[in-house]
Symmetry: none
Subunit: 214 residues, 4 copies
DNA sequence: GATGAATGAGCCTTCATTCAT
DNA sequence: GATGAATGAAGGCTCATTCAT
């Protein structure tokens, strides 16, 4: 894990102000990178642009991140962690029943902190650029697998508990598609619908899969 | 429309060898562009790379397409047309019943000519790069709207004919998500499942929405 | 001399229509070159632009002129000849008195066919581009020398006949400056004065040099 | 105004070595541009050539001047300022009598720093290339107008004070032509005469316009 | 730590020229 | 003669990276 100061990862002991500002500066640069990715796209995200958004010099960005490639890698890592923590804590806070867990999982993906235009577009930039796919696999693949396994397991429990008979693999996959789909719509559509409608759409799909449970 | 030889525009009479080779050369360059987009991504697709794949010089690519931007535009145009023709002719060949139409629509998206790794990745490159989004809207937006309207209308007919009560907008949207989702999986996953499994997954979702009809 | 059909150089025997059209085509290309030089400047005059103005293909321009450099050389040659013939015939037609000859020389430079914006700007393009200076020397230098010698000689006659005492070299030079000066003004000024005013300005200068003679 | 160290803008206090060298580097690049314009002409002045003359990389030239167009604009600006300061201070240092002022104006144009082959040829490059004419108008037009207005006003004073009756507009114009004329000769002629002879030639013309005053 | 000067690889584009038809 | 396909050299520009201060 890169040493970015995330709210979820408070330094264990009180850090020196130096360390704090260092971490804060790194965080600001990563946020700037996300914004740049979202706004200008992968190919037009330059160190100069990132530096300008973070209100520093490009030299300093490189000082902190060694290379552009590493900056992007750490940005992806940050997004991945942020996302993982979000859904895992949502699941942990929800009831044990699989439908409650699934609902929590869905709801987590529309959390305000996660479901930001900037965030969504930045994800999209990473997905779209085939060059970054190995990076994505390396850093987000494991988490995605975890997420999917969780979903599939919950779908299995739905069968066990309530007598549904759908293949859990496929159902889990479809639930994931629904979430990804509305995400992409929110970014891509010229006139996207609201986040509320997005959420309802996914529930609509979940209801179709598991009638009477959502 | 670029003058590429597309199936729906068969040359009326035998064209002069010059015209033929001209169109063929352009087509080869567009295919090269698709391959480059798929393999190297949007940001690393260079004229030199395209030219190398088409076994010509970059000068010639520009001679035929005036600029890189125009080359990409015509490539997107080509993909759009190819896709539109594919689903429209599939729908035209299918039975009138809405479930048959929907099934034809789904099946068309897994046609061999369309559902190629190269093709899918190229689409992905256009989606992912925010810079190319206006281009996408301008050229593919209308077709996408048509596709969606068609799907929504068919979902409406499902309600009318068979007494289903789901919101057609949302159902159509979900069907679209399922297709897009498996597409993305085929590109993104380190170890993707088969096209057959992809197709079955979508049918699984369609069955959930409209039990007994797929 | 290149074989351009100029009115002053009618082919000695009746040429075949083929030759005629050949010469006419070359002439059209040279006129197109002059226009392009005037409008777009030396550096932006391209074969394609010349060809477009002459309503042919760039290939044909090269067929007729072998290279761009040669096209420019022949264009300069054409301008030089056109200019030489104009002033020499004007001088030949004028009275013998030196003041009449000088006046004829001045008047000739404001002849409509010569004193065209296109022509003036084209000259300017050749002067301004240092690269073309050797070419200019080679092709127009001799004529310029002749022109100047003529002018100096006439200034000498003014001294001999009317008792003026100015150095003929300098006076001839100054007369030339006046003509060149108004020419440049006509091209360069945002709001140039009229050709009539230009002519009067030069006469004003001639009167100053030789009071009572102009 | 570009931040080049010009005589009229002496650094108020000793500048940091950084600033100094920055201005010095820019100045060196502008001098290199002037040399390149003079030697190779407008169309063949490339960033690479300028960089080579300034003994740096083309990248650095762009770092300091943003674009070739801007480099040329700043070069023209530099020449314009240099020229303006030269004649204005010469006029300021001269006596009040109009003939003294005119003589000072003429003399200023043959000052060693101004009347350099490089400088003259560079001016010529800007005049000759029609493409650069709008730039010239925008940057040097105002100064030229000022110069001309000054000259015309002085010619008017010659009439008022000494009873000459020539049109001041035309006389001022002619004086300008004489100066420009010798300038062009110095650049253009294969075997140009000396600067001293050039100066005498202009005085010769001034004497013709205003007998007994030069 | 921080800045920004400096470099150079690589891109898109223009254009003269050659060649096949 | 005439056209336009094809090539490749060269130019302007962007940008990641290195380095001196």
């Amino acid at each position: 894990m890169p040493d970015i100061a995330t709210p979820e990862h408070p330094p264990q002991s009180a850090p020196s102000p130096r360390t704090q500002s260092r971490a804060a500066r790194r965080a600001r640069m990563i946020e700037a990178t996300i914004d740049s990715l979202a706004e200008k796209g992968y190919s037009r995200t330059t160190l100069t642009d990132v530096a300008a958004r973070a209100r520093t010099s490009h030299g300093l960005v490189l000082f902190h991140f060694r290379s552009k490639e590493n900056l992007l890698a750490e940005t992806l890592d940050f997004l991945t962690e942020e996302y993982r923590i979000n859904w895992q804590s949502a699941v942990a806070a929800a009831g044990k029943a699989p439908e409650e867990q699934i609902r929590a999982l869905i709801k987590a993906d529309f959390e305000e902190a996660i479901c930001t235009p900037s965030r969504l577009s930045a994800w999209c930039a990473f997905w779209g650029e085939s060059q970054s796919r190995p990076l994505y696999q390396a850093q987000s693949g494991a988490n995605d697998d975890l997420y999917n396994a969780n979903l599939v397991q919950l779908c299995g429990q739905m069968n066990d508990l309530y007598g549904f008979t759908q293949d859990p693999e496929r159902s889990g996959r479809l639930l994931r598609f629904m979430i990804e789909g509305v995400w992409l719509d929110l970014i891509t559509l010229a006139k996207p619908y609201s986040v509320a409608e997005a959420y309802e759409t996914v529930l609509h799909g979940a209801r179709a899969l598991y009638p009477g449970k959502f």
